[in-house]
Structure formats: structure tokens, C-alpha cells
Amino acid sequence: MRNFLLTLLLTVYSVSVMAELSIQITQGVDNPIPIAVVPFSWQGDGVLSEDIAQIVVNDLEQVGEFRALSPGNMLSMPSEENEVFYRDWRVLAQDYLLVGKIDRAPGSQLVQVQYEFFDINRELKLAGEILTGSVSQLRDIGHEISNVVYEAVTGTRGAFTTQILYIVADYSPTGEVLYRLEKADYDGQRAQVLLESVEPIMSPSWSPDGEDVAYVSFETDLPRIYIQNIVSGQRRQITNYPNINSSPVFSPDGTKLAMVLSKDGSPDIYVQDLVSNELIRVTEHPAIDTEPSWSTDGRSIVFMSDRTGQPQIYQLELGAPSYQVERLTYDCFQCLKAKFLPDGVNLVHVRRETRQDPNYQIAIMNIDTLRVITLTDTALDESPSIAPNGSMIMYATKFGGRGVLDAVSIDGRVKFRLPSSRGDVREPAWSPFFN
């Protein structure tokens, strides 16, 4: 038995109006894996606020690789192993089966969720455990079960218990704009406001331990970098240099913050040590250098520069003289906002192919083979952010004239959208794993 406690859930926020995001699957794979998820039985009184089986189904279907059997077509409704007859599922051509039951934990307000996961063809139980938590944690328990199922089938760690940060710009009928930094589950559920302002908020970025967010806020009338603790809401201003202070990104070990400052004339990349506050200048060029990101080993910075006239991607090892900068992209009119996938070889970026083609799309370039795969086909795609398991990329685009968040698998086969009920939603930042 495992006690299910997600520290992040202990957050208490005074939540006002939020953008409600909910997932729509826009594109799936041709031959999804058939899986039966039997509605979990509930032994307690009343009706539970969450349907765990449905949460698991939604998780698995939106990553596109699974297709869940409708409960109406099930021949039996087992809730534990001794009620499972493999033949019932084989005749329905199912490869996998998930069953479970929910009970009150004896002598407490908590509930315990027992689940078991089976391989139908091999007639084998692959996983099973009992998770205990409060009723308000049922969604987390559902996502945790999705992680187990996903990893058991694909071999890749599931990212269903991760979260996203994003910015919402809400336009009132009188023309005023309210900017919000929000946090939600990866699927857009349970949104919380972390910061609200009438001045713009930009560039949210997670610390590698998932406890802090760095961002740019114009609340003093000027763009300045802040770090805010996500749980306590405590925040501190990190920079107050003249001109642009932007694009904060935590180093992989969390001890440094890469950023863009134009205090010395034009925007250049800097790294600030968060312990000693020492500031190191990384690039030195009269053109625009911006959009830093860290290589996976934390030893070099990838950034965008328009030093040749148009934005291209460059890489520079920290501590190396600036003339040792290496240009990574050549075959695009504009290549921007690059970040390495966890494999350290594939570079996710925003790409405009030619001057004549006005579209900005999300692409991946293998820096060894130089092969480029363009993943999206909409016009104004930007701000790609990678799931911590490297399986999907969430990005901002326009739909119906409004800003929305879309996600695409790194092979381009699966897409889903998180439409918002209000405001322009943009700049998604996918969290790291929390444990």
C-alpha cells in the first residue's frame, strides 16, 4: 500500500476567473492499441466527484496511441483479478485491461483505490497496487494509474501527472487587458491563477525541481524578471537592469538563470548565478541575441540571433570566447526559439521556411543529420515546450482569431488542443516530473 500525497496539491489559492481549458483530440494514430478500462466500482455512500476510469481513458486517448473500448460493449464488468475472464476481452480484440475499485479507507475520510492491469494476450497481470488519498486527489490518482499503464505498454515514462504554466490575456469589452500567469494540470484541468496584472506578463519557465517559476512582468512599467514559489506564492525580483530584462530560463541544475539583457546597448545573453548573484555575459554582439535555452548537460547555451540579418539558431559553450559561437541552422528564412529534446540531438524550434511563406511552424532538426521534420501546419505557431518524457510538444497557435494551446507528438502523428473558454492563451511551459 502506498500513501498518495502530492505536495503540490496542498496549495491554497484565492482563485478568481480562470481560463477553463479542456482537451480536444484533433489527430490520432492509424492503429491505436485497444485497451479496455472498466468503470471502477465504488463501495462507499453517495457519488464520487471524479470518474477514475474516465480520467485514465482521456489520458490514454489524448496521447493518441490508445483506443479505449466503450463500457456499453463490455461483456463483463470485473473490478478485481478474480472476476477477470480473459476470453471476455479476447473476443472483443482487446490487448490490455484495466480494472479497479474504490473504497473508504477504514476509519478515515480518505479513499483507497485498488487497480490491476492485465495483458490479455499473455494472460498476465502487469501491475497493480492500492493508492490512498483524499477525495480531492482522485484526479491525481487517475493520472498516476495512467502513468503506470502507459509505461507498462510503451516503456516510456508517462507524463500525466505533470502540469503546465501559461499566460492568458483577457480582453474586457471596454478594451482593458488583464494578464494572468496560470498553472493547470497538463490537460488544462484545475487551473489556478499565480499572478494577475494589468501590465503584460511573459516567458514563464519552471525551475528543474518544479517548485519555482521565473517570468517577466511589466508591473513596474518596465520588463523585469521575477522568481515566484509556486506553492507559497512568495516572489522576489531578480533583475532591475536598464532596458530589456527578459527570457529567464533555469539551468538544468537550478543554480543559474540564463536571461536576456540589453543594458549594454543591444539584447545579449547573460547568466546570473542565483546563489552568488554573479552576472556573466555570454554573448557580445550588436545584433539581437535572445531566446536562450540550456543544452541538456548545462554546459552550453542555445540562442537566437539576427546577426546575419534574419533570426537563426546558434550555440555557444559557457566560458568560451564569443567568436567560438556555432551556427546550427542555415536552411530557413527564420529559425527561432530553439530547445533540445532530452536526447540532446534533436532541436525543437520555430521555423519560417522562406521569405515568401509567411507561416511560422514548429519543427525538429537533428543536428547530426540536419534532417528537419515540420510538425505543425498552422500559421502562427510559437513557444514550443517539451513534455518531460520527450513524447509531446505543447505550443501556442491561433484558432478562430484567438490564442490557444496545441500539442503534437514528436513524430507529428498525434495532435490535441486545449481550447480556452476566454481570453488569449499562450506561452505554455510544460513542467518537469515532480518526483
Binding site: A169, Y179, S197, P200, M202, P223, S232, I288, K337, L380
Partner: protein
């Protein structure tokens, strides 16, 4: 505890917001007024025949003073796509702005640079600054003092027009001169 801390933060934000909102709404109203005034100014800059004859009778304002006043009323300057230099037709107007600052050392202005939404946000933030700097440099060369001018870029975060049309894009590529 946690909740209260957050409310405090939020409260201070509301205060900031009210102040900022007041500042913004007043400036954007003048922008709009100028949007229409501007085109007529641009036209009357060369065709300065109609107004001066009437105003000349006032004997208070010379033709040159009227031209200066009209120029100062234009406080939004638009830019071409992917271009950081202000348009040649704005040169004369900006010269009047520079002379005005040179002659009023106590006057302070803020140059607010903006970009359209194409391209990435952080690049657009930098482009907005580049545009504002092109006007900043011209004002200084023509007599304004650096200490009179503050530059801030909003990138694509504060569009003047919404929508994904070339018309909206061109309205958003701008520098606003805001008197402080």
C-alpha cells in the same frame, strides 16, 4: 496564511493596475485621436495653406509654430514589416519633437516600441526596442537630452489592433511617444 499572503500581493496589483490603467487609457485615447489627426497632419505638412491663413490673423502663432504644434500632436509612428528604421516621411515631425524637447528641458517622454504578432514573442520584444531606439537616436542627434527620454519595448504584448490581417499588423508595428 498562504491565502492571505496571496491576497496581499493581489491587492497591491490592483492598486498598480488602477494607476497604470488610468495612464494607459488616457494615452491610448490620444493615440486614437491622433490616428485621424495624423493623416491630416501628414497631408497638411506640405499643404499648410488652409490653416495658417486663418491662424495668421491671430498674430499669436506663426506658420512655423502651427507646423510645430501639428507635428507634436502626432505621437504614433508606424514601421514597415521587419524594419527598425522609422519612415522617411516622419523625419520632419520627429525633428519638431526633438526641438520641443531641446527647448523644454523639464519635459520627459517615454518611447514605447511595439511589434506585430508574427515571429516569436521574445524576438518581437527586442524588435520593439530596436524601433524605439531608432527614434531615440534621432531625437538625441537633433537636440533632445538622453535623460529626457525613457525607452521601453512591449513587443507584441500590447497590440493596438487585433486580428491576423495585414491592416492589424501594420497598426501594431509602431512606436508611441508618451509625454510623462
Amino acid at each position: 496564511m498562504v491565502t492571505q499572503g496571496n491576497k496581499l500581493i493581489k491587492l497591491s496589483f490592483v492598486v498598480i493596475s488602477m494607476l497604470a490603467l488610468a495612464a494607459c487609457s488616457s494615452s491610448s485615447e490620444t493615440d486614437d485621436a491622433d490616428g485621424s489627426a495624423m493623416t491630416s497632419t501628414g497631408g497638411s505638412g506640405s499643404g499648410n495653406s488652409a490653416q495658417p491663413s486663418g491662424a495668421g490673423n491671430n498674430q499669436a502663432l506663426t506658420q512655423e509654430e502651427i507646423r510645430a504644434q501639428n507635428a507634436l500632436r502626432q505621437n504614433v509612428f508606424y514601421f514597415d514589416f521587419d524594419v527598425a528604421e522609422f519612415k522617411p516621411e516622419d523625419r520632419q515631425t520627429l525633428t519638431y519633437h526633438a526641438r520641443d524637447l531641446a527647448g523644454n528641458s523639464g519635459k520627459r517622454v517615454r518611447l514605447e516600441g511595439h511589434a506585430d504578432e508574427r515571429g516569436t514573442r521574445e524576438y518581437n520584444l527586442a524588435l520593439g526596442e530596436r524601433r524605439a531606439n531608432s527614434i531615440l537616436n534621432y531625437l538625441i542627434v537633433n537636440g533632445a537630452s538622453r535623460s529626457q527620454i525613457e525607452v521601453v519595448s512591449y513587443g507584441e504584448e500590447r497590440p493596438d489592433a487585433t486580428g491576423q490581417t495585414e491592416q492589424a499588423f501594420s497598426r501594431n508595428r509602431r512606436v508611441e511617444v508618451v509625454v510623462r
